[in-house]
């Protein structure tokens, strides 16, 4: 392995600032005038880290610590207010699985739509469709509009689509714990399969130290948007949860 390889993800002094206006009206006026008052909230402050290819990193932090914002910036749907982010490789994000569909279209049509959005050709879309139908396993509902789906069914299709491409970077949110036990296990197996591929970088967001330790070898802890800890997974969990020998009531 050469020492000078390109990192999969690199954050350099990344800040994400949200401007909170008093009302939508103020926000609208704020587009045109700098004199409209607003409060600034930083979801991420001065994040600097590198993730090398093939690493698996657990992201830990309380609600509101800035995990989701960070993930959004990695997947490229949100942009930093300042600083620089480099992401090298195809990202597949298993975030909010129930979102990102057009409710008017059927499951099958949404699969096609997603294939088209990714720029796949007809043959590739046919393969994608077969994989998704098989994995999601929702029977005749595949040809019903997605607005009629239960959240479990949406999540099944969502996971099937997102996990069907072989990504270079896999972003997994723990909110993944949807569906019944059998399906969850199926998802876990699939994630492990993807991870078994060489050089897949994994970003895993979780509250549970157990799964973090099982999957990741490095941990990053966020506190109020700042990088509070970055190091080996054991130490990260200790930092996040306190000393390990303090018994915590199992939940």
């Amino acid at each position: 392995m050469s020492a000078k390889q390109i990192p999969a993800i690199e954050f350099r002094h990344v800040y994400k600032r949200y401007r909170l206006y008093r009302s939508d009206k103020h926000r609208f006026l704020g587009i045109f005038s700098k004199r409209i008052a607003f409060k600034e909230v930083f979801a991420n402050r001065d994040l600097t880290f590198k993730v090398e290819r093939g690493e698996s990193v657990a992201i830990m932090g309380k609600n509101g610590a800035g995990k989701s914002t960070m993930l959004k910036m990695i997947t490229g749907v949100a942009f930093p207010s300042s600083g620089k982010i480099d992401v090298n490789g195809r990202v597949s994000a298993l975030l909010e699985l129930t979102a990102g569909f057009d409710p008017e279209f059927t499951g099958r049509e949404n699969v096609h739509l997603r294939g088209q959005l990714w720029g796949l050709d007809k043959a590739e879309i046919a393969v994608l469709e077969r994989q998704v139908v098989e994995f999601a396993d929702i029977g005749v509902y595949m040809d019903q509009p997605m607005r009629t789906y239960s959240s479990g069914m949406k999540a099944r299709v969502g996971f099937a689509i997102a996990s069907s491409i072989n990504p270079d970077i896999l972003v997994v949110d723990e909110a993944l714990s949807v569906g019944d036990k059998a399906f969850r296990q199926k998802c876990d197996r699939r994630i492990k399969e993807i991870m078994a591929e060489e050089k897949v970088t994994v970003i895993f967001v979780t509250h549970s130290s157990g799964s973090a330790e099982a999957i990741c070898n490095r941990g990053i802890v966020l506190e109020k948007g700042k990088l509070a800890f970055d190091g080996p997974i054991r130490a990260a969990i200790e930092f996040y949860e306190g000393p390990p020998d303090t018994p915590v009531v199992a939940g």
């Binding site: 949200y18 939508d24 009206k25 926000r27 609208f28 587009i31 959004k72 997947t75 490229g76 749907v77 949100a78 942009f79 990202v91 909010e96 979102a99 990102g100 569909f101 057009d102 008017e104 279209f105 049509e109 739509l113 997603r114 088209q116 959005l117 720029g119 509009p145």
Partner: protein, 287 residues
């Protein structure tokens, strides 16, 4: 002294560079997503007419009802429907109102693209500037179908296709260009504020009545007012379609109208570029 003059020039140069880069981004996004844009235009059509038993027929039924109502109100009710340039009032109305249906769709639905397609903004990585383009294209398909029906109606009335039809693609292209830029501009703003989309929808009817679709702008007596009215792009387009179908005039025969539209087009281009540059990174945060 020399320095003081230098600074604003540098500022201007930096600004030109920034907007140039934004424009280059838009062009690059369109070039890279050509196939997706074409496919999504079809998807948008499906989305619009999905979920109703009559489906596609609505694309024809709705305009037909509107035209019948206006024709009835004007010819029978107000008895105002006189022949224009030897063409029955009905045909005159048809020629001007057909582009209006496209423009109306773009003014209303076309101004809420980011909300309608918010999953493309917040859940998937997708080039934002192309969303308005494929929506506009989808409306253009419907427009093309209506245009064909109208042409057939003209032929049935014994008014065959002539050399003036050659300029029809020009007017259609200008309309498409203007309203695609409008749609990008308006969708950005209405994603930031509901007020904006409310303002737009409440003014659509007003725009319809002041734009000379139901009356002939060429007959306005006040010469100054006649000139001012030409700065309304809706008027320019509706009048252009009538140049083709009714007045049998070439687009270059009214240079002032062309000039006025060019001015408005450039302003729209500037506005959409400015708002896109300003807001493209914030849209995902507010939706």
């Amino acid at each position: 002294m020399a320095q003081a003059r230098q600074a604003p020039l540098d500022l201007l140069l930096a600004r030109v560079q920034r907007y140039g880069a934004t424009f280059a981004d838009i062009v690059r996004e369109h070039a890279g997503y050509k196939t997706q844009i074409l496919q999504l235009a079809v998807v948008d059509l499906l989305k619009t007419y999905r979920g109703s038993a009559l489906g596609w027929l609505w694309a024809v039924i709705k305009p037909s009802v509107t035209i019948s109502v206006y024709w009835f109100a004007f010819s029978v009710g107000l008895r105002a429907g006189k022949d224009v340039n030897g063409f029955p009032f009905f045909l005159w109305l048809l020629a001007g109102i057909v582009p209006w249906f496209y423009m109306q769709e773009m003014l209303t639905q076309g101004s809420t693209n980011f909300k309608r397609y918010n999953y493309l903004v917040t859940k998937i990585r997708f080039p934002l500037s192309t969303i308005s383009t494929f929506v506009s294209l989808s409306k253009l398909y419907v427009h093309a179908a209506l245009l064909m029906i109208v042409t057939v109606i003209f032929i049935m009335f014994g008014r065959p296709v002539d050399v003036y039809f050659l300029q029809l693609p020009l007017y259609t292209a200008l309309m498409f260009l203007f309203f695609t830029m409008w749609s990008l501009f308006a969708s950005l703003l209405s994603a930031m504020s509901k007020d904006f989309s409310n303002v737009v929808t409440s003014f659509v009817m007003a725009i319809f009545w002041i734009s000379g679709i139901m009356w002939d702008v060429n007959r306005v007596n006040n010469p100054l007012l006649a000139k001012i009215l030409l700065f309304n792009p809706v008027t320019f387009i509706a009048n252009g379609y009538r140049n083709v179908f009714i007045y049998k005039r070439w687009f270059f025969q009214d240079p002032f109208a062309l000039f006025a539209f060019a001015v408005v087009l450039v302003v729209m281009f500037g506005l959409s570029l400015y708002t896109f540059n300003r807001l493209r990174r914030d849209i995902a945060d507010v939706l």
